[in-house]
């Protein structure tokens, strides 16, 4: 195995609607920032991989245009995943393991504001049984939450505590969209939105983008004093049909965590891509994180949830905290699909 590290991370200030710029204009500044942070010019980047979804923009092959933000001329080695950018990091990591790249750049972006995100995301569902019902992701998450609540896996109070803790943590995150001090009792007195979920159980709708730079072996040591080394990396998927899954737990996260070696040594902090409060509780359990682990010091996806990007941000936030010495071993998680269908787990360590 080659040693691969995240050596630089940049993200936009996430907002409900970035309506005056297009995706290229949104990406360009942070691509420059991430390259500067890594101390490289773009000609040293061996591989570029991006994550985005054309459905968000309503434009087929919209990711091709986004490459103008990087500058793909003369031609570059490039790939794209119609997934969260965390999976683009996985592809870049595999490429680096194969010896095909020493430095890779991964970006992801999502502007949810042009369309109705709940309707747009219903299009990710099986087109025979679910698509024609226009089941939206909030309703699906609500079905999952009720299963867990009624099985006694977690409580509405615990869910509100996740929301309060996330917003409190986000007060230290200048890129977050939501932050502040919220009392659990006050949150629970709010009306239900899509019952049993209240608004605080759901992520904000966000426009945003993020970039990480990866480097292998000598290149990582040359460019970074404190690289965040990827020491474990895996992703797993479950059946699409909710009826075929146990919604009170996340078997795929457990499997990915075991393969990535999460439990092999103590974990200092975890950045979990949990768009809904109860999903953070499911994930903490599935990852076997003890009470002492700092969860989502950035505020997580409940405080900024740019689609296709929030998972990549978890990797960048975790890596930053390894690089600055706040954590010596961190877990980054990303999810995709309805009700935590697919999960990626990455273990990051300092020297």
């Amino acid at each position: 195995m080659r040693d691969v590290a995240i050596i630089s991370f940049a993200q936009t200030k996430h907002q409900r609607a970035v309506s005056d710029i297009n995706e290229v204009e949104m990406l360009m500044p942070i691509l420059g920032e991430a390259l500067d942070g890594a101390g490289v010019k773009k000609d040293r980047v061996d591989f570029v991989c991006s994550g985005s979804s054309d459905y968000l923009a309503g434009q087929p092959f919209s990711f091709v245009m986004s490459l103008d933000a990087f500058g793909p001329w003369p031609p570059i080695s490039e790939s794209h995943v119609d997934m969260d950018g965390a999976w683009a990091v996985y592809e870049a990591w595999v490429k680096m393991q194969a010896g095909k790249a020493d430095i890779a750049l991964v970006y992801a972006y999502g502007k949810s504001s042009p369309g109705d995100i709940r309707k747009v995301l219903s299009r990710q569902l099986d087109p025979y049984y679910l698509g024609p019902l226009w089941v939206d992701p909030v309703s699906l998450a609500a079905l999952q939450a009720r299963v867990g609540l009624e099985a006694g896996a977690f409580s509405a109070e615990q869910m509100a505590e996740v929301a309060a803790a996330s917003r409190r943590n986000a007060k230290a995150n200048p890129y977050a969209q939501l932050s502040g001090d919220a009392e659990v009792a006050a949150l629970l007195s709010e009306p239900e939105f899509v019952a049993p979920l209240r608004k605080h159980d759901c992520p904000p709708i966000s426009d945003g983008a993020a970039v990480v730079v990866l480097a292998a072996d000598g290149a990582a040591r040359e460019l970074s004093e404190h690289p965040a080394w990827i020491r474990g990396f895996d992703h797993r998927i479950e059946p699409h049909a909710l009826g075929s899954r146990d919604l009170t737990t996340s078997v795929s996260t457990k499997q990915a965590a075991a393969k990535a070696g999460v439990g092999d040594k103590p974990v200092d902090l975890a950045e979990l891509h949990a768009p809904f409060t109860h999903q953070e509780l499911i994930l903490r359990d599935a990852l076997g994180l003890s009470d002492g682990v700092s969860i989502n010091p950035s505020g997580g996806a409940l405080c900024a949830n740019p689609m296709m990007t929030a998972g990549l941000i978890r990797m960048g936030e975790a890596a930053n905290r390894v690089t600055n010495g706040e954590a010596s071993r961190a877990v980054a998680h990303a999810t995709s699909g309805p009700c935590l269908q697919q999960n990626l787990v990455c273990v990051l360590e300092g020297e």
Binding site: S19, L133, A195, G243
Partner: protein, 170 residues
């Protein structure tokens, strides 16, 4: 640059697709058109509804379709107080995981309680509310509008069941 200097335009993207079903999903929709529901027997003997082509545990091909009931039990529900355009009901309703009698896995569909969230609970019995069968001689145009927003008769579609409603004996 101030926001008002940037142009904006509505952009409507339509997907006027038909999708082939294959024999397994096709059988499910054929049954719906005929007014009943089928599932498929998994390798462990459980009945999966709606049917899938491959076993979720072993990935083997599944082939045995069996009839299940059009009544069942609510296993979970999400109350949609403000339905989005296109969702099955125009007034508040629930999406629910419904385990049909004779099935071992729940399916997702809508439950109509007349807009009243106090009239649904987990464990509640529900039954399918069917669209009428297509009368002999009805033209294609009578069947549905091209965009599928208005449905008159059963045609082999998940919305041949308009929704589920409270009731239905075990």
């Amino acid at each position: 640059m101030a926001d008002q200097d940037v142009l904006r335009a509505p952009n409507v993207v339509e997907y006027p697709f038909s999708r082939t079903t294959g024999p397994v999903i096709g059988a499910f929709f054929t049954a719906l058109r005929e007014g009943f529901i089928v599932g498929i027997v998994a390798r462990d003997g459980t009945v999966i509804v709606p049917p899938v082509e491959y076993d979720p545990h072993t990935s083997e091909s599944l082939t045995e379709l069996v009839e299940v009931g059009d009544t069942g039990e609510v296993r979970s529900w999400a109350w949609v107080g403000e339905p989005l355009d296109g969702q099955p009901l125009g007034r508040p309703f629930a999406y629910a995981l419904i385990k049909l009698d004779g099935a071992d896995t729940p399916m997702v569909h809508a439950v109509d309680t007349g807009g009243d969230p106090s009239k649904i609970s987990t464990g509640m019995r529900v039954r399918a509310k069917w669209l009428p069968a297509k009368p002999a001689g009805a033209s294609e145009e009578e069947q549905t509008d091209p965009k599928g927003a208005v449905r008159t008769y059963r045609e082999g579609h998940i919305l041949d069941i308009e929704c589920f409603v409270p009731g239905g004996q075990a």
